[in-house]
Amino acid sequence: MAVATSIAVPILSDEQLLHRFTQGDNAVLDELFQRYRQLAYRVAFRLLGNEADALDAVQDGFVKALTNLHSFQGRSAFKTWLLRVVSNAALDLGRQRCRKETLSLDLFRKDDSDQGTPCSLPNPAREMERADLRTLLDRALESLPEPQRCTFVLHAEAELSYREVAETLDISIGTVMSRLFYARQKLRAYLSKWISI
């Protein structure tokens, strides 16, 4: 009778992986990348608005984080530190590329006779194509000041707690809460021009 056995592979902590990496074990890069690639990408995508730029920011962020491990003193989690580096890389990239595409938002209007009237849809999330809605949200995010934008994305997309966001951005929890409040106000004001919210 065959007996199946399973070997439990110990899951190494981030600190253990980083220690191995600094000792020259490049194989741990695969594990680190697998753990945080999606989160880093989603944050970068929200800040930049497109896949290509987001991938560049993630690449830049990972390289910077892993070549500057001496700056990571372990006072915060590696996740929050990495997201800080990635979000800074994304913001830098956004400034460099200085994309100021103007988007015609007419597609969000009901018809030509309703210029300036928000499209009052009973359920905008269903009625509007997901891509269009994301574009609208991207534009709304771009209208926020950088600190508010970054704070909001880290909380809403990376699902970091107030404390984690505060650690990532090196600000107080009160500042996190305040920025989130004003970011939501502005996003709502922006979106309400186009959709009912």
């Binding site: 995508f45 830049d60 390289v63 892993l66 070549t67 707690s161 107030y162 709502r188 979106l191 919210i197």
Partner: protein
């Protein structure tokens, strides 16, 4: 916990409203009291309730627009690019070696700063007159006549014309050495060439060529 006279309850701060929307005010625990106050206030403020509901709808819109994940091929390509970037970038050093190197660089920087400071002080102490006598010194400022200033008992002010000012400079430019300025209490106007009209005030002004003398507007009776 009951709220006495809830109508006088101060609206919660934006921070607490944000925390309430994000579910950070636990029903149990230290923040339970704040949660109850926020809920009490929201019950009595429909506009604020609308805001909170709008934020919830915003969250739903946000969740429906989560970026699509790249393909595995894209991830693999990205990981390869990161590895390539790590190979090209300077290798991270172990913390101990790094701190020693950093310490060494700091010491070197401090020594360099001290040397530069010493050179700067020495340069300022060096007598410019001697410098002009040095062979091979061809700096254009060498031939400029030094700033001459008359001491107070060498000058008698006979008359002053022009606009007023708070200080008086007596001498010929350029100036060297200490400048002695007459202050407003040290100069008095005893005579004017042309009598003043009723609304005018005496002004002591600037001649076209220095020396320039200024005097305060006050006059001795």
């Amino acid at each position: 916990m009951t709220v006495q006279n809830g109508d006088s309850f101060v609206p919660p701060s934006p921070e607490w409203l944000a925390a309430y929307v994000d579910g950070e005010l636990e029903a149990n625990g230290d923040l339970a009291g704040i949660r109850k106050k926020v809920e009490y206030w929201l019950d009595r403020n429909p506009k604020a309730q609308d805001d909170v509901l709008a934020w919830s709808r915003l969250k739903k819109i946000w969740d429906t627009t989560t970026p699509r994940e790249p393909s595995e091929k894209t991830w693999a390509s990205l990981q390869g690019a990161i590895c390539h970037g790590l190979i090209q970038a300077p290798q991270p050093t172990a913390p101990r070696n790094r701190s020693n190197r950093r310490r060494g660089l700091m010491v070197l920087a401090c020594v360099a700063a001290v040397i530069l400071l010493g050179l700067g002080v020495t340069w300022h102490l060096w007598n410019p007159a001697e410098q002009s006598a040095l062979p091979g010194n061809t700096h254009p400022s060498i031939n400029v006549e030094p700033f001459l200033v008359a001491v107070d008992d060498e000058v008698e002010i006979l008359s002053i014309t022009g606009r007023d000012t708070e200080t008086v400079v007596v001498g010929s430019l350029p100036v060297e050495g200490n400048i002695e300025l007459a202050t407003s209490g040290e100069v008095s106007l005893s005579w004017m060439e042309h009598p003043l009209k009723q609304s005018e005030i005496p002004l002591v002004g600037v001649e076209e060529d220095p020396p320039m003398i200024w005097a305060p507007p006050r006059m001795d009776p």
